[in-house]
Amino acid sequence: MLDEILTATFITGLLAAAVRMATPILLTALGEIYTELSGILNIGIEGTMLAGCLAGFIGTYYTGSIFCGILWGIITGGLMGLIMGILSITLQANQVACGIILNLLSLGMTSFIFRVVFGVTILPPNIKTLTPLPLPIINKIPFVGQILFQQNLMVYITFLLVLLSSFLIFKTGWGLKIRAVGEYPLAADTMGINVYNIRYICVIAGGMLAGMGGTFLAMDLGMFVDNMIAGRGFIALASVIFGRWKPHGVMAGALIFGLADAFQLRLQALGYNFPHEVLLMLPYVLTIIILTGILGKSHAPAALTQPYIKEK
């Protein structure tokens, strides 16, 4: 068994798949960083991804353009973020409860809309998938080129977004404002920062990124099935904690989950008589081990899950 796994083709294939599978998680987790830094814990990103996934699928199906599909997914994600914002910022409802309900709403809505739009079909409807776009010159680098530079466009965009987010959060006034609102909203308010606006912007941006992450899944597989996110939104939440609210750390977390997922699929495909359930559990067990803080304690934004009530 080991000699089949320790071949160059298997490993490069595995790592390339890991990068691809990490992408939707990473996109969603990046969005969640903004949301959580501003003080809102959005558990509803699982549902947001699902909504984005369906919107992206329908958009691509009817317009025929992947670009339009992605746009639909992003807009839908933003709308889900807006709902979360209205509930948790303006109406000051409990954020955990709101997130859970948003997931349920999205589960029902997507299943309902999918059936209403496509009816009951024998063959599931398909869309075209994202094609790999090898980058010139650097894709020829052995190993690294195959793993990193023969992916599709959305993967490149996602990893650029990691750099951009790092810069935005830690080097600009905007980032400082976001962090201030999440740490000590009262102080931020005293300094003339509009806490509500910042939180709305962050939760909507987070929703848009989660929606984009969902569309990636639809584009990657070319189809939609009920509840196809299957916990990836929650894994994104876990990788935010794993990465301690820093884009680079979150990227590492998402890549580990992508690797576990890819590994489990490939081992199954090799067809060993090994209980595949154990492999299916792997990403989740890994999440728990990581969360238990073997890698050290982390400091969450102080005002996370606390609604801000402005004094009159």
């Binding site: 109406l91 409802a93 859970i100 309900i101 948003l102 349920l104 809505m109 309902f112 359930e277």
Partner: protein
């Protein structure tokens, strides 16, 4: 005009009655808004919303068999909903009821398949094993949360997937029915099966246990020190600590009971309905139960009502899909919208109450 009405009402009623009245108004409004929004969805799908709602009601209450089916469906929701309500009250965000249900089902199956005794010993044995398994499964994230302060929401969520895959492994692997072709365990011994209450239906004794536990929980929170401690810790662990409550122990007890109750839901499904463990034994009861608990505002007696409401929506939905062609997932939307409206209206309630208190 609205303000005048409120003013008039608040002067006429005394404080308590006013609060109840406001709560009731808000719940009714939430339901109305939810049904209005759902009607828009149904109209957009090209059907008449009234026909759909009537069809759901017919489907749910059309015949005595269906009405017993509602109670069958409501049983796991009551168990798990109670468990979740206790955890939420105690400040533990237990999203892991689904996994605890599966663990309860696994434990009950193992006991019921391996031991052959008279029902008088075996039924208590499966009930206790279901409770213990669910409780211990919840204690894993529970201890991590209480001892190391790790976020329990994600922990319990991840534990769900592990539990579901474990159950799947057990029904495919070591306990697989040697005589059958389906991936399911062998049938339980007769002694482990919960008795059916009404002949020719699937209604089993689990519902009686569920109702009994509902009343028990109500009394615990209303009358006992334990209930007070759980509420105090949930409201503010630091002030509970300064008030002399052992926060660690209280949390652990809360979490254990919470998981145990959810485990009973799994036990009920195995010993009352399927008589064996099979894949997907809980079609998301653990998640629906969260919504049930939130709708009931974590109140034990209201959970009974909320669970029956959701179960009847569920039973009605299947019938509705067959007669009108509208996908049954519309029910999921109704449920979510009702609770969203209720969550969203809490601020209104708080404001109205504060106004009254200030006077």
């Amino acid at each position: 005009m609205f303000k005048n009405l409120i003013k008039k009402l608040s002067t006429e009623f005394d404080k308590n009655k006013y609060f109840i009245f406001i709560k009731l108004c808000i719940v009714i409004m939430a339901f109305l808004i939810a049904f209005l929004l759902t009607s828009i969805c149904i109209t957009a799908a090209g059907a008449n919303p009234f026909e759909v709602f009537i069809s759901i009601i017919k489907g749910a209450f059309g015949s005595p068999e269906r009405m017993t089916e509602i109670l069958v469906k409501a049983t796991p929701l009551i168990f798990a909903g109670l468990g979740i309500a206790i955890a939420f009250k105690g400040g533990f965000w237990n999203i892991g009821a689904e996994g605890q249900i599966y663990l309860g089902a696994i434990a009950a199956t193992i006991v019921g398949v391996k031991i052959n005794l008279s029902p008088f010993i075996l039924i208590p044995a499966v009930i206790i094993s279901g409770f213990l398994a669910g409780g211990l499964w919840a204690l894993i994230p529970g201890l991590l949360k209480v001892r190391f302060g790790i976020n329990e929401i994600i922990l319990t969520m991840m534990m769900n997937y592990i539990a579901i895959h474990t159950a799947s492994y057990i029904s495919h692997g070591p306990f697989r029915d040697p005589d059958g072709s389906l991936p399911q365990t062998a049938e339980l011994f007769k002694g482990a099966c919960l008795p059916v209450i009404i002949n020719k239906t699937r209604l089993h004794a689990g519902i009686l246990l569920a109702i009994f536990l509902c009343l028990l929980c109500y009394l615990i929170f209303k009358k006992t020190l334990l209930g007070y401690k759980i509420k105090a810790v949930g409201a503010n662990p630091r002030s509970a600590f300064y008030g002399g409550i052992n926060v660690f122990n209280t949390m652990i007890i809360t979490i254990f009971i919470s998981g145990g109750l959810a485990g009973l839901a799994g036990m009920g499904e195995v010993c009352g309905i399927h008589y064996r463990l099979l894949d997907g034994i809980s079609p998301g009861y653990g998640y629906t139960a969260i919504v049930v608990a939130l709708l009931a505002r974590l109140h034990a007696l209201w959970i009974l009502l909320a669970a029956v409401l959701f179960a009847s929506l569920d039973i009605g939905a299947g019938f509705m899909q067959r007669t009108t062609g509208i996908p049954s997932s519309i029910v999921c939307i109704i449920e979510a919208l009702i609770v969203i409206c209720i969550l969203g209206s809490e601020i209104l309630e708080r404001k109205l109450m504060r106004k009254k208190v200030e006077k």
